[in-house]
Amino acid sequence: MDRDPLTAAPSRGPRRIRRWATGRTDQRVERTLGALAVATLALIGAMLVTVLVKAWPSFSNNGLSWFGPGGDIESQLRAMAESKALPGHSILYFRAWPLIWGTLLTTVSAVLIALVVSTLAAIFLTEFAPPAVRRILDPVIRLLAGVPSVIYGLIGILVIAPYIDNHWISNARKASVGYVVQLSGADVMTASLVLTVMILPIMVSISAGALASVPASWREGSLALGVNRWRTIWRVSLRTARPAIVAATVLATARALGEAVMLSMLSGGRGFAPNLLDGLTFFFEPVRPLAATILQNAEGLTIPALAHTIYAIGAVLLISAAMLSLAGWAAKQQFKRYGVRA
């Protein structure tokens, strides 16, 4: 007698009914799952359309200059909040460059630092760490990856920002840029460093997983040919793990791009484009990335002009995230031949 695992359970009633029920269950499950999958896609589609429709007035009013520099962005947002247009401009007048520059600065610097540190940490974890250390570090890293960003924000605002303000920024430095911008310890450097710490765990976790799944025979083969350990790691393990490292980087970049809570607390809360020509002061200048700007202005969603602008910022973030996934996919293609999957 063949025992179908689905129908082998203790059963009542004749076999015919059980068969009928099983067959229908398959069909029902297929339809339900199909509906859920389509519903997810439809929701994403609806979300994209909603955001773009609501954002359109802001884009059509400003054209491509939306992305460019021009004037003080805080005055522009304030004008919208007060429903009083700036003299000589439309109420929707908006130049987002300081926000875009702020997003680029925090995201790119955090991801670059995290990429180097996480790769080295992953190599240590898989190749050098004694098993006891690995057993402790593995769960700790996974735990860190799940810490809510507001916790990082709190630590930053209660400890790091006041420390930097009191010990690193001299009064002379404050006075030197006082007419343009105020230095308060919450700045592009603090924000980028805390962001790095936030995205590190997930990158270490994925990279270490990929390095561990490199076939042992490949490394042994390399060692048997007389290649030293570091060169083996560099030329065999890391090369093989490249697709996973790219995937980790994309994931981390997406998180950094969308981070709002921690950045609105720690980046200085002012739409300002830090100037590289300011030398060391550059690191202490405030920024406000796109996502944090949405958060800080969300209270004004009932004001039409501000709402269009907030949705426009949201649309830029959505499209950047989509392009990021695409770029990650494209980057992975050429590494795939000898790579391990993430």
Binding site: G23, G34, A81, S83, Q182, S184, A186, Q296, T302, I303
Partner: protein
């Protein structure tokens, strides 16, 4: 196992119907709602009141609250486009349309705060304006200050009601808070920032000063306390009004305003005193 393959198109049609059902908004049922329009400063308060009103009278739909501007709200009421107008400034005879009733619902005010290491005794309106517009940048220029060094300005985000109150009460139409100021996104963060920075100055609502941690500065010689604000002695306050037509106002609108201004209405009192000053 018998795998019953459903024709693909049937799955897709069924799925699409289910998906549509999921995303159709549930609140597409039309009903007569009270429309309240006007001052953006009053928006957070009136939205809270509207929600609580619906909770108190579940049969009456939540009034629809729109922002904009005090003057737009007043004009909308006069023209019949809104049932109630929100005004965050006192009525101006001769400027406002005639035939309107202004009902005072609450007071709004802010305190100027500094670090406890900088117990500034008093500030005049002129000094407040000079500090916050960025004309005065060093504590040594501020009368009564024992501190020297640059002034750190702490502002609130543009859409905050507290920022709007400070702007309108202390600075007026012509002056603006220096755009270089750091913006904090909540009262708690503002108090924390001022409490952590010796050379800081900022502003918060009355409720936020009650827990200490910062020094509350007297304004024009009057301490910033709730009794002083209620009595009208303290200068850093303004009135919140609800505006209706003298004749032809809907009974619903009258009922709502009566509920808001009813003496001893604990629900309203609790909402108002969370960030504003209750007067009823």
């Amino acid at each position: 196992m018998r795998a019953h393959r459903t024709p693909k198109h049937r799955t897709i049609v069924l799925s699409a119907i289910l998906a549509l059902a999921l995303i159709t908004p549930a609140s597409a049922i039309a009903s007569k709602r009270l429309v309240i329009a006007g001052s953006t400063s009053m928006l957070p308060l009136v939205e809270k009141l509207a929600t609580a009103y619906h909770k108190a009278y579940p049969k009456i739909p939540t009034p629809k609250v729109e922002g904009g501007q005090t003057d737009i709200g007043i004009d909308d009421v006069a023209a019949g486009r809104a049932d109630i107008g929100d005004a965050s400034r006192d009525p101006i005879p001769g400027v406002d349309p005639t035939g309107l009733v202004f009902s005072k619902i609450a007071r709004d005010g802010v305190c100027v705060i500094t670090n406890t290491a900088n117990p500034l005794p008093n500030l005049t309106q002129e000094t407040v304006q000079e500090i916050f517009t960025g004309d005065m940048r060093n504590w040594s220029q501020v009368p009564g200050s024992t501190l020297t060094g640059p002034i750190d300005l702490f502002d609130r985000e543009n859409v905050s009601g507290t920022q709007d109150a400070f702007q309108n009460i202390f600075l007026g139409e012509a002056l603006k808070i220096s755009p270089s100021a750091t913006q904090e996104s909540s009262e708690g963060l503002e108090v924390n920032a001022v409490g952590a920075d010796r050379s800081a100055i900022g502003f918060v609502s009355f409720a936020a000063t009650l827990n200490g941690g910062v020094h509350t500065v007297d304004y024009q010689g009057i301490p910033c306390t709730l009794p002083n604000a209620k009595s009208g002695q303290y200068g850093g306050v303004r009135n919140f009004w609800m505006v209706t037509k003298k004749v032809g106002t809907s009974p619903q609108a009258i009922k709502f305003i009566d509920w808001v201004t009813k003496p001893g209405n604990l629900t309203v009192r609790k909402i108002v005193s969370s960030e504003w000053i209750a007067i009823h």
